[in-house]
């Protein structure tokens, strides 16, 4: 196997006395779709936050494409090819869809204050060039009809899609998705799953997602990491994970003599 796209080594994250993530290690291969699952409060989002730089782990390392990014600021990670979406949509609500996507081009743009303020010439050329990239993504995610709408006025499912579009505008190597399908109906979920698969296959983007919809997780991911109370309890293909007694216990709460070792600590 080549260098993993992302590797977490013994990551430990504490908030005061609460340990959110305890000694979690896993690796994501380039070009794959990985999923993180686990019951509520298992530390999935905290782990994603540690990877994207919103939180800093107290111990352990996060290695992105062979480079240690544990101590980097979020914007430094972004310019290296890391993008994410948020569980509770964190779009720029008062901006249009287009402007939201153009913010995604931030790390690819180079005009400063003066070129921007004088606009005509380099400023305009740059804006037009990036507008073309953004329009490609708009076509890809089928949001042409809302490109000039203010994001705050859009329906929830569309906002989720715009957030994916904004992350794609970064042209990331690794895309982190925090519950891309939460609160969607069956049709919207199918659309979203299709977009995720297309992103992965057409654009070659590695995807790491948190998702509660097991049907989707088992269908589209090639590997699944299961967390429970901040500890990794399983890591394998969807089939392996489904058969894992620890996972069954975490989700269904079965009392089973064989897994007494992971009973309440």
């Amino acid at each position: 196997m080549s260098t993993p796209q992302l590797e977490a080594k013994n990551v430990m994250l504490r908030f005061g006395g609460v340990t959110a993530i305890k000694d979690v290690s896993f690796a994501v291969e380039p070009g794959a779709i990985h999923a993180i699952i686990g019951p509520n409060g298992a530390g999935k989002t905290s782990l994603l936050n540690a990877i994207s730089g919103v939180y800093r782990p107290q111990q352990g390392q996060i290695i992105f494409a062979g480079q240690d990014i544990t101590r980097m600021k979020p914007y430094e990670r972004t310019s290296r090819g890391l993008a994410r979406t948020f569980q509770n949509i964190a779009l720029f609500k008062n901006m249009t869809v287009l402007d939201n996507l153009l913010i995604g081009r931030h790390t690819h743009q180079h005009c400063g204050i003066l070129k921007g303020g004088f606009y005509y010439g380099p400023g305009e050329r740059e804006e037009v060039a990036h507008r073309m990239v953004v329009e490609d993504i708009i076509d890809f995610l089928e949001i042409q009809h809302i490109r000039k709408k203010i994001v705050g006025t859009l329906a929830y499912g569309l906002q989720k899609r715009v957030e994916l579009a904004r992350a794609l505008a970064l042209e990331p190597k690794l895309l982190l998705l925090d519950e891309p399908m939460a609160g969607m109906n069956a049709e919207e979920k199918e659309d979203m799953a299709r977009f995720i698969i297309d992103t992965n296959e057409d654009r070659g983007t590695t995807v790491l997602m948190i998702e509660h919809d097991m049907g989707v997780v088992m269908d589209i991911s090639i590997r699944v990491v299961v967390l429970n109370f901040g500890v990794k309890i399983a890591d394998g293909t969807p089939q392996e994970v489904q058969r894992d007694p620890h996972v069954q216990k975490a989700y269904l709460g079965q009392e089973d003599a064989e897994v007494a070792g992971v009973a309440e600590a």
């Binding site: 919103v54 979020p74 720029f92 743009q109 005009c111 606009y119 305009e124 740059e126 804006e127 904004r166």
Partner: protein, 351 residues
């Protein structure tokens, strides 16, 4: 020729991203600007003074709006940053008399920008009311310096300002100053408008709407917040510099904390996060007292006591206007203007 847009017929992204929808809008603006240039030909010296103050207020309000309306960093230090620009102009005028006024104004603006950035450092940690307190502290620190650093600022007594000059030519009257103020105003407003069509401006708005996700999208928060403080203070400093030229004599009394609040009122009434809003708000807040005075003096024949009441009346109407705007049009005059335009676009078939 289509005067009002009835559909979308753009054929290139550059056209789609232009500031003005149609050639008609551009012509209207050009005609308006031409008309504006003729103002000194017939305006009385009193209205010339008011017009110049409007121009200065527009520059200052656009500056404050960049910081507070677009980047979401509330600031009560703008009167102080204005003072920095004004005192710099006075100092440069006295000590470097040969310096062309354009350079003086630029240097004053840059000095204000540097001071603004220094006081903007706490913005990385502080938000909202806490940042308002920190910038309020900036106001009092600068005010203290202005009243005590006698060699430069003339202390409480103040200092006189040499007129703006370029070699032998000097802008010593309000009508000559008018062209300088409105030239700069037009340029700076246009610059700001462009800024928000490109990378830096969009990053500012992103910080306002969602700072965590802005950082995850690759925006260096600290750098861009400081940049916003810098650009904003530059505008405010230029406004201060022009104010010094216009007032000819400045003292700490020209820059009270109520001036900072006036500017906040301009952008709130005009429209936070809107260039047009800053312009409308600046015109409204600067002209309101003049209109009230006009009204009061025209009624003084019938109600002589009204003139005596004027001072309190002015504050009352001022406060009332702000409250009414906050209640009925929280998005400001710019939003109201947009609604009027939308209404007329489809008139008389507004369904």
């Amino acid at each position: 020729m289509a005067t009002i847009r009835c559909g979308d017929f753009k054929t290139s992204y550059a056209k789609d991203m232009a500031i003005f929808d149609s050639a008609f809008a551009r012509w209207c603006l050009a005609l308006f600007l031409l008309a504006l240039l003729t103002v000194p030909l017939y305006a009385s010296s009193y209205w010339m003074d008011v017009t110049n103050r409007v121009g200065i207020a527009i520059i200052g309000a656009v500056g404050l709006n960049i910081l507070t309306g677009f980047t979401g960093q509330i600031s009560l230090g703008n009167a102080a940053f204005m003072a920095v620009g004004a005192y710099a102009t006075a100092y440069l005028g006295a000590h470097l008399p040969g310096l062309p006024f354009v350079l003086t104004i630029l240097l004053s603006g840059f000095l204000a920008a540097v001071v603004g950035m220094v006081f903007g450092v706490p913005s990385l940690r502080l938000k909202g009311l806490y940042l308002a307190m920190a910038t309020l502290a900036a106001h009092f620190i600068i005010e203290f310096v202005a009243t005590h650093w006698n060699d430069v600022t003339g202390g409480v007594a103040g200092v006189s300002v040499a007129p703006a000059s370029f070699f032998k030519y000097s802008l010593d009257t309000d009508s000559k100053l008018f062209y300088l103020i409105f030239g700069l105003m037009f340029f700076l407003v246009f610059f700001a408008k462009n800024l928000f069509r490109t990378k830096v401006g969009k990053a500012f708005v992103a910080i306002r709407d969602q700072d965590i996700s802005a950082e995850v999208m690759g925006v260096n928060l600290f750098k861009y917040k400081l940049m916003s403080f810098g650009i904003s203070s530059f505008y405010v400093g230029v406004a201060g510099s022009l104010l010094a030229y216009q007032a000819k004599y400045i003292s700490p009394e020209n820059f009270p904390i109520t001036l900072a609040i006036d500017y906040l009122a301009m952008i709130i009434i005009g429209g936070m996060g809107s260039i047009l809003g800053s312009i409308l708000g600046a015109i409204f807040i600067t002209c309101l007292p003049e209109l009230l005075r006009l009204g009061a003096s025209s009624l003084s024949g019938t109600f002589p006591s009204l003139v005596g009441l004027f001072a309190s009346l002015k504050l009352g109407v001022f406060g009332l206007a702000i409250v009414l705007f906050l209640v009925f049009e929280p998005d400001g005059m710019a939003e109201r203007w947009r609604k009027i335009k939308t209404y007329w676009r489809l008139y008389p078939f507004s369904y």
